[in-house]
């Protein structure tokens, strides 16, 4: 496909991701976790905790944060920053909801290509 910057890619229905849950999107350079909060915001982050690469999509989502299932590091879905005393950063990607569909910015695929 012809990926232009700021082109939004329709990934799936919002209903496909449970509230306070996440699903994975596979890319050539690893998985991106798409999160849905209790109030139906979506966020896309690399599916790897900066601590020991724990799969964040398998964590518990609360407010706009997720707790990694391996060692309970808490990561902000908004900024990707590790919360509390721990330090680290997870890559985030633009995501939004429109008419009940989850949209990702295809530019993120290119950025991941370059990465």
């Amino acid at each position: 496909m012809n990926a232009l910057p700021d082109e939004w890619l329709d990934i799936a229905s919002l209903d496909a991701v449970p509230q306070r849950g996440a699903r994975l999107v596979k890319t050539a350079h690893g998985c991106v976790a798409v999160f849905r909060t209790g109030d139906n915001k979506v966020f896309a982050l690399d599916n790897a905790c900066p601590h020991k690469k724990g799969p964040l999509a398998d964590g518990i989502v609360h407010g706009s944060e997720v707790t990694c299932p391996l060692h309970n590091w808490v990561i902000s879905l908004e900024t990707g920053a590790v919360q509390g005393a721990d330090e680290g950063q997870v890559e985030t990607y633009p995501a939004r909801v429109e008419d009940g569909r989850i949209l990702l910015d295809v530019a993120f695929l290119k950025r991941r290509d370059a990465a």
Binding site: D58, I60, H62, L109
Partner: protein, 808 residues
């Protein structure tokens, strides 16, 4: 020169346009079409008409005299069928009329869910006076009404029908009512208030079909539930009515697209009201429609004006429940919440802040300060100076902080505090008044907290509320940062206040966050399902991943799969199936566990449903090796083979495992059954151990062989297998009802004492009641989660695979 203005639709927006034009004595010759057989009336007031407080005559805005006096040519009950933009004419059923300027004000149409039976007589929408009259007529016969849709319109219909004596059920697809205006907590309070008014509310209810022969008889829900219905009201939403505009090839997105002068893609055609879309935004509330009407009237008269959508607030009254919402209250980047809950008054307030400015507010119960908060949102006031007291409203700026004990203060005198001894709050208050001023004195005089002790925190809070500064509560750890309450406090509240959902707990126990955290949510989920097995719906998103995916997560993100081997007994066929599965899914490690079964380690998350399916087909089910629940019942070979065996320990182990499997407990639960005191099944370091002797069975509890190593202590000795089963059901249920989440039995036993547990099972009546409650819960939870997840496997798969896109 007089211009011919043709208006399609006589609603509140176009009515206001005409008022502005006539007030300014603008030179227009107006022709007004309306599909309804009447002119403009106040649609907002249809609810009072439905409930009988008002009549149609009370809500008419423009009557025949008004249209007459202003020279409007009225075509009421006449549908416009086409617009000819080249000829500049409008064609209706009655003929064709020419225009200089055309105004489309077709409003919106109710959304009809496309299910079988939607066209049956007795199925109506709620949009205009005809719908309202149809509902009033239907309600005169009484009977049952089902309202599909728990938004504002649906709830008003429900309230009106209930007022007229119908038995009303509201079905709502989403998890809580009015999810667009309210968050979950406010939705919970609204639901409670509606239920008090006799309206049944079913959330997450998906309508599959409407049933009936020549008229509606019932509604069929997903899950095969059937609700009898004499009347079905569809109020699932509205969409802009754009058919005429689309046919005329005007630019239409969701609504008729207009610019800030309300002009469509044709310069002589304008649109106003619910049918328009501006910059992707639709409009449904009356305030922006009136703003549009003013701008449009100016545009038509040649006065420059611009429509700017404003920040909106909604103050709603649904059957006497006060709600307020304004701005954007969804969580987003850089936003923070301030939450205030006053369970005593059923009050909930949530403010959403961004950069020291309030951007959204939700209020329930007491909305008196709504306009003050709305002012802060609209004016983008910097609130950093008053942030600490902001949530209490204008009257409290600089005033007293809230009372953290308000939840306990709010309990009525007959609220049960101590479940063991049946002591109510009032008795404790009386004891305090009579001179009992500390916990020991309360225990001595009332027996409250003198048995299992789990209500100690609540008793102390009653002391604190009653005595004020004279009593200092010993600090006990709260569950987490979301609440000041301890596990024991919250459990007592769940039981005594009959809290049956997570939002109910958050509200009534004054949670400080909007939806808990990874520490409190799994605990609450367990407490709710243990105390209300039939009423509470298990929430997978509040479970740790192992229990959500029914497999143990490993350090590399793969999972391990352990099929159940009842009592540690397997067969060659089962072993072959396990070996085949290990080959097929390239399982890197196969290990024998300490619980007498086989662990397949290193299975990819997306392969889980497929490997389970293979194991299911060989007759195996989940071993729950991942659960805070029944894990294994380890056995020795017993009297079947062993020359020392006194009883059939293997057979008893299998029976126990088949009874207990699937049950959730505060922490993991491991059992062992040894056939003689040589104890080859190591039963005396299990949570519950049975050692068979010649005269019967010794049941002991509270062993451990992990970080702590402990020997079990004897609970009782019984003579028959049936008694073993009843005692173990009872002690497990008591642990489920009273144990703190993540306490193994030995920790629970250290708190309540072995004596207390012995009393629970020694009293035969109590033993039977506990066993019966265990059986009731097992009627819901004794099932194979693997089979269920094989049937619904999509959550285990990726949402999308973009590997190809990236490659190109």
């Amino acid at each position: 020169m007089t211009q011919k203005l043709v208006v399609i639709g006589a609603g509140m927006a176009s009515g206001r346009v005409l008022e502005h034009l006539f007030d300014a004595e603008a030179d227009f010759d107006v022709t007004l079409f309306n599909a309804e057989e009447r002119g403009n009336y106040n649609r907002i007031m249809l609810s009072p008409v439905l409930s009988g407080e008002k009549t149609y005559e009370d809500i008419v805005t423009h009557d025949a005299d008004w249209y007459d006096a202003n020279g409007v040519t009225c075509h009421f009950g006449d549908h416009v069928t086409a617009i000819d933009r080249a000829a500049k004419t409008v064609t209706s059923q009655d003929g064709t009329v020419a225009y200089d300027k055309l105004l489309i004000a077709t409003g919106s149409a109710p959304f009809i869910i496309p299910v079988q039976g939607k066209d049956l007589p007795g199925v109506i929408t709620y949009r205009d006076l005809d719908d309202t009259n149809a509902m009033i007529e239907a309600s005169e016969k009484g009977g049952k009404a089902v309202v599909i849709g728990g938004g504002l319109l649906g709830l008003e219909a429900a309230a009106g029908l209930a007022e007229r004596g119908m038995d009303v059920t509201v079905l709502h697809l989403m998890g809580h009512l009015m999810e667009r205006q309210l968050d979950e907590a406010a939705g919970f309070l609204l639901r409670g208030d509606l239920e008090k008014r006799g309206i049944t509310v079913k959330c997450r209810a998906s309508t599959v079909a409407i049933l009936g022969e020549d008229k509606v008889e019932a509604v069929l829900l997903e899950g095969d539930e059937v609700l009898e219905a004499d009347l079905v009201v569809m109020a699932v939403g509205i969409r802009p009515e754009t058919r005429l505009a689309t046919d005329a090839a005007l630019s239409v997105a969701r609504g008729v697209e207009v610019n800030t002068q309300l002009q469509t893609s044709d310069p002589d055609i304008f649109a106003v009201g619910e049918c328009v879309e501006l910059d992707g935004q639709l409009f449904g509330l009356v305030a922006p429609l009136y703003d549009q009407a003013k701008v449009l009237a100016n545009t038509l008269m040649g006065t420059p004006d611009v429509f700017t959508p404003k920040e909106l607030s909604t103050k709603l009254k649904v059957t006497g429940c006060d709600l307020f919402s304004a701005g954007d209250f969804e969580e987003a980047e850089g936003r923070e919440d301030i939450v205030f809950r006053d369970p005593a008054r059923g009050v909930y307030r949530r403010l959403v802040l961004e950069d020291d400015v309030v951007v959204g507010a939700v209020m329930y119960g007491d909305t008196a300060d709504g306009n003050w908060f709305f002012g802060l949102i609209r004016d983008k006031t910097d609130i950093s100076d008053m942030r600490d007291t902001l949530i209490f409203g204008p009257a409290y700026q600089g005033g007293a902080p809230s009372d953290p004990l308000s939840a306990v203060a709010a309990l009525p005198r007959d609220a049960e505090i101590c479940g063991c001894n049946g002591v109510c709050k009032g008795q404790i208050e009386d004891a305090i008044a009579a001179g009992a001023t500390d916990l020991a004195a309360i225990k001595a005089t009332t027996k409250a907290s003198a048995s299992c002790g789990t209500c100690t925190g609540l008793v102390e809070q009653v002391l604190a509320v009653t005595l004020g500064d004279d009593f200092v509560i010993p600090t006990d750890a709260s569950i987490c940062g979301c609440t000041d309450m301890t596990h024991e406090d919250v459990r007592r509240m769940i039981k005594s206040q009959e809290l049956k959902s997570m939002p109910a707990v958050w509200q009534e126990c004054g949670w400080k966050t909007s939806c808990g955290c990874h520490i409190c949510r799994p605990a609450l989920n367990f407490y709710l399902l243990a105390d209300w097995p039939l009423e509470y719906q298990d929430d997978p998103q509040s479970r740790f991943i192992n229990e959500r995916k029914h497999a143990n997560i490993q350090k590399d993100g793969t999972f391990s799969v352990v099929p159940r081997m009842w009592g540690g007994i397997t067969t060659p066929d089962e072993l072959r199936a396990i070996a085949d599965a290990a080959d097929k899914f390239a399982v890197p490690t196969v290990k024998v566990t300490g619980g007498q079964r086989i662990d397949l380690l290193g299975v990819k998350g997306e392969d889980l449903p497929a490997i389970w399916d293979d194991l299911n087909k060989a007759g195996m089910v989940s071993g729950h090796a991942y659960s805070k629940g029944l894990r294994t019942v380890k056995t020795c070979v017993g009297s079947d083979h062993c020359r020392f065996g006194t009883q059939d320990s293997t057979g008893l182990g299998i029976k126990l495992e088949k009874i207990l499997w699937g049950s959730w407990t505060p922490h993991k639960l491991k059992l062992g059954v040894s056939g003689c005191p040589r104890n080859c099944a190591e039963a005396t370091c299990k949570d519950i151990g049975i050692v068979c002797v010649d005269s019967g069975y010794q049941i002991s509890i509270g062993g451990a062989a992990g970080m702590d190593v402990r020997e079990t202590e004897l609970l009782c000795q019984v003579a028959t297998e049936d008694e073993v089963i009843d005692v173990i059901k009872a002690v497990t249920q008591s642990y489920r009802e009273n144990g703190k989440y993540l306490d193994r039995i030995y920790k629970w036993m250290a708190k309540v004492g072995l004596d207390w547990i012995q009393e629970q099972v020694a009293d035969l009546e109590n033993r039977a009641a506990l066993a019966a409650r265990f059986d009731l819960s097992q009627s819901v939870y004794r099932k194979d989660p693997w089979a269920e997840h094989v049937a619904e496997a999509s959550p285990y798969q990726a949402l999308a695979d973009l590997t190809l896109e990236a490659a190109e």
